[in-house]
Every structure is written in structure tokens, then in C-alpha cells.
């Protein structure tokens, strides 16, 4: 018997997806279960939002919006993806909606990046990290939205192309091309900056 067949023969309740469906079902009807789900996923959602929209104050609203949407969507969760993917997908779309509504919003001030740099490092390294984050967000913010999101999900979040595509409701090839185009544009922008300084 192949390993795939063995997996298929397992009782449904023992599969991680079935467990996720149970968790979603409980969280849809119980405050305690939803609180547990919230605790389990809030930091990952916060990271996703931060990487997609930057360290802006509106993240707090977006975080609440994500979990509000999660709460409403839980009854429809069927285990097609893991619960974590399901929640991150909602977070991604909340961030995209926000970015779309605020296309011309300026990049956050560099001091906003201070909260992202771990405390305790030596000041010179902290300043360097802050400058790098500021530069990256500035460059990424100049990208078209679809390329920006694809780049963040694949290059920064490290998602496999297929998963990033699933989260964006797009074909894997499309998302791959967007991420590559974003990378080329970012490299060109960095080269132009270097050239301008020299």
C-alpha cells in the first residue's frame, strides 16, 4: 500500500484539517474557543499586516478587522486549507483592501520602524536595521500593488509560490511573474539610487 493510500485510510478526525474544522466550529460558537484561536494566530497576523502595510497606526484597526472577518467566516470554513492559511488569507485581503484604498499614502516615518528593530542591539546596528527597513518599505511602496503583495508574500514571508497564489486567488505562474517583476524593479531602483549617490 502506498503512503498516500495509507493517509487516505486514516480516520478523518485524526487529520490536521479535520482538527482545524473542529477548532473553527468551536470558535464560531464559543467565546473561549474564539479567544484561544485569537491568541494562537494574532502574532502571525500582526507580522503579515506589518510586512504588507508597514508599521502604520492603522494596523490596530486592520487587526481587529481581520478577526472580525475571521469570526464571520468561521462557519464557512470547510478545511480546504489549514486554519492558519485561512486566517492569513483574510489578513492578506484586509491589507490589500487597505493598500488599495490608500494608494497615495506616504511611507511611514523612519522612527516608526524603531518598534520593529529588536531592543538590546547596539545602537549602530539598530540604526542600520532601521535605515534598511525604511529603504525597503519605501521601494516596495512604489511598486504596483499586485507586484508588491506577491513580493512580500514570497520574498519576505517566504511562502511557497503555490500557497501565495492560493492566498491571492491567482495562478501560481502569475504570482511568480509578479514577484520576479517586483524583484527586477527593486533591483533597478536600488541601482539607480547607488548611481545617483556616486
Amino acid at each position: 500500500m502506498s503512503s498516500l493510500a495509507m493517509v487516505k485510510d486514516l480516520p478523518a478526525a485524526t487529520s490536521p484539517r479535520a482538527a482545524d474544522v473542529e477548532v473553527a466550529r468551536a470558535a464560531a460558537t464559543s467565546r473561549e474557543a474564539f479567544a484561544a484561536l485569537y491568541h494562537a494566530h494574532v502574532d502571525r497576523v500582526w507580522v503579515r499586516l506589518t510586512r504588507l502595510v508597514g508599521p502604520i497606526a492603522e494596523r490596530e484597526d486592520l487587526l481587529q478587522q481581520v478577526f472580525w472577518q475571521v469570526h464571520r467566516a468561521l462557519p464557512e470554513f470547510r478545511g480546504d486549507a489549514s486554519l492558519a492559511t485561512f486566517i492569513q488569507r483574510i489578513a492578506t485581503h484586509v491589507a490589500i483592501d487597505h493598500l488599495r484604498a490608500a494608494r497615495r499614502r506616504p511611507v511611514p516615518a523612519s522612527d516608526a520602524f524603531a518598534e520593529l528593530v529588536p531592543a538590546g542591539d547596539d545602537p549602530a546596528r539598530q540604526a542600520a536595521a532601521r535605515a534598511e527597513l525604511t529603504l525597503l518599505f519605501e521601494l516596495v511602496a512604489a511598486l504596483p500593488l499586485d507586484k508588491r503583495v506577491a513580493f512580500v508574500l514570497i520574498a519576505i514571508e517566504g511562502l511557497p509560490i503555490r500557497e501565495a497564489a492560493a492566498q491571492l486567488d491567482a495562478a501560481p505562474d502569475t504570482v511568480k511573474q509578479r514577484a520576479l517583476a517586483a524583484r527586477r524593479a527593486l533591483e533597478a531602483a536600488l541601482a539607480a539610487r547607488t548611481k545617483g549617490r556616486s
Binding site: V42, V47, T50, R51, P55, L62, Q65, L133, A155, L190
Partner: protein
């Protein structure tokens, strides 16, 4: 360093950043989960005209809390006039064979026949909710109250009911009412969640709430139907 290497370095720095959600929003969401919508106000003011996510999350739980009698009290002012006369006959008592749509619950109170005319649209009572439409969002009472533009808030029992309360030794009556408005801000559903022992007072409240009128409640710039649980508290002094 090539621009490609430079980009890799920037990406590596960004990847190393894994911020954790600060206690502010955590507390707001969890306060909502615990059924304490007021704890959310320092972050999301209830006076906001545009509903914020925290309010909506709180609203879901306020609705649940309301069922347990925990909704925020809305006290009638002492100097407000009594409910208009003749309203008692408009509030239909709950019946098993009610003609109200199923999702309105057994305590749905039919609108008075003059409500449509006073709202300036038509004399026809609000149409039932279409089955395919999404259910209205439940928002905290404060959020909906901010949008109210007309209608009497303080509804007192009539003299007969007051006499009955005194006779019964009742000094306080609490009547939670679920109010739903359509995207135009017109009341389209009134449910008395827990009736008092005084049907005339319940009917006066229901008829008074049917007179309320709101500004359209907008979410993301789009007017949406919403519901809130408003609690009437009448105290005999």
C-alpha cells in the same frame, strides 16, 4: 555590493523582523470577546460615525450579552413626554403563527400602520428581509444611537401602567429591544427581547421605537442594514 545582493540584505533584515501584537489592540479585541464593549472605547471611540472593526466585534458579543440582560442601559430622561396615545394597539403580541419572517424571532413587533407615512416614504410597512440578503450586522447600541436623528428616546409608561406598577410594588422595569434599520436609516424590525409584566408599556416602547429615524449606517462608504440592542430602563422614584 551589487543591487541584487543589496536587495537580498534588505529582505533578510525584513525577514528577521517578527513584531508581536502590542497589548493595546490585543486588549481591545479581548475586551470585546469578554463582552465589555466599553473597554474598547479608548482605542475606538463610540462616537465614530463610521463603524470600526472593534465595534463590530463588540457588537456581535453585545448581542449575545443582551440575551443575558447585559446590554448597555439606555435610561429615559425624567422630563421627557410620555408615549403618544393609542400606540398600544399597534404592538402585536408574539404568536406562534405570526406572519413575521422566520429570522425576526418570536418577539418581533409589527410596525404601526402610520410608521411608513411618518418616515416620509410610503404607508406600507417595511418589507420582509429577502432570504438571500446577508443578515444585518449587529453593532453596539452607542454606535447606532450616534446615528439617530429623530424619535423619542424616553418612553414612559402611561398613568394606568404606572398605577399598576405602584400597586404591584414594582420600582424598576427593564425592557431590552432589538432594533434593526435598513440602509436608508429607517427602522425595519423591532423585537422585544424580554417583555415586562406590562403589555401596554411594551407596546408603547415598540411603537416609539418604530418612530425612530437614523442616518444611513455606513461601512466602507456603503450604507448597510444594522441591528442593535437598546435597553429601556424605567424607574419609579
Amino acid at each position: 555590493m551589487t543591487s541584487s545582493d543589496h536587495l537580498d540584505q534588505l529582505v533578510a533584515t525584513a525577514r528577521a523582523v517578527t513584531p508581536t501584537a502590542p497589548p493595546g489592540p490585543r486588549a481591545a479585541v479581548l475586551a470585546a470577546l469578554a463582552g465589555e464593549p466599553r473597554a474598547v472605547t479608548p482605542i475606538i471611540p463610540l462616537t465614530s460615525r463610521r463603524p470600526r472593526p472593534a465595534l463590530v466585534i463588540a457588537g456581535v458579543l453585545v448581542a449575545a450579552a443582551a440575551a443575558a440582560g447585559l446590554a448597555v442601559a439606555l435610561r429615559p430622561a425624567a422630563d421627557t413626554p410620555t408615549a403618544p396615545p393609542g400606540l398600544g394597539s399597534h404592538a402585536a403580541p408574539p404568536t406562534a403563527g405570526s406572519s413575521a419572517p422566520p429570522d425576526r424571532g418570536p418577539d418581533h413587533v409589527a410596525p404601526p400602520s402610520h410608521v411608513g407615512a411618518s418616515a416620509g416614504s410610503s404607508a406600507v410597512p417595511p418589507s420582509p428581509v429577502v432570504g438571500t440578503a446577508p443578515p444585518p450586522q449587529v453593532v453596539p447600541p452607542g454606535a447606532l444611537e450616534d446615528m439617530r436623528i429623530s424619535g423619542e428616546r424616553g418612553i414612559k409608561p402611561d398613568a394606568e401602567t404606572l398605577a399598576a406598577m405602584q400597586r404591584d410594588g414594582v420600582t424598576r422595569v427593564v425592557v431590552p429591544v432589538k432594533v434593526c434599520i435598513d440602509p436608508d436609516g429607517i427602522v425595519e424590525q423591532v423585537n422585544i427581547l424580554k417583555r415586562s409584566a406590562y403589555p401596554t408599556y411594551d407596546a408603547a416602547i415598540a411603537a416609539g421605537v418604530w418612530q425612530w429615524r437614523y442616518r444611513p449606517f455606513e461601512v466602507d462608504g456603503r450604507a448597510v442594514p444594522v441591528c442593535a440592542v437598546v435597553q429601556f430602563v424605567f424607574s419609579l422614584r
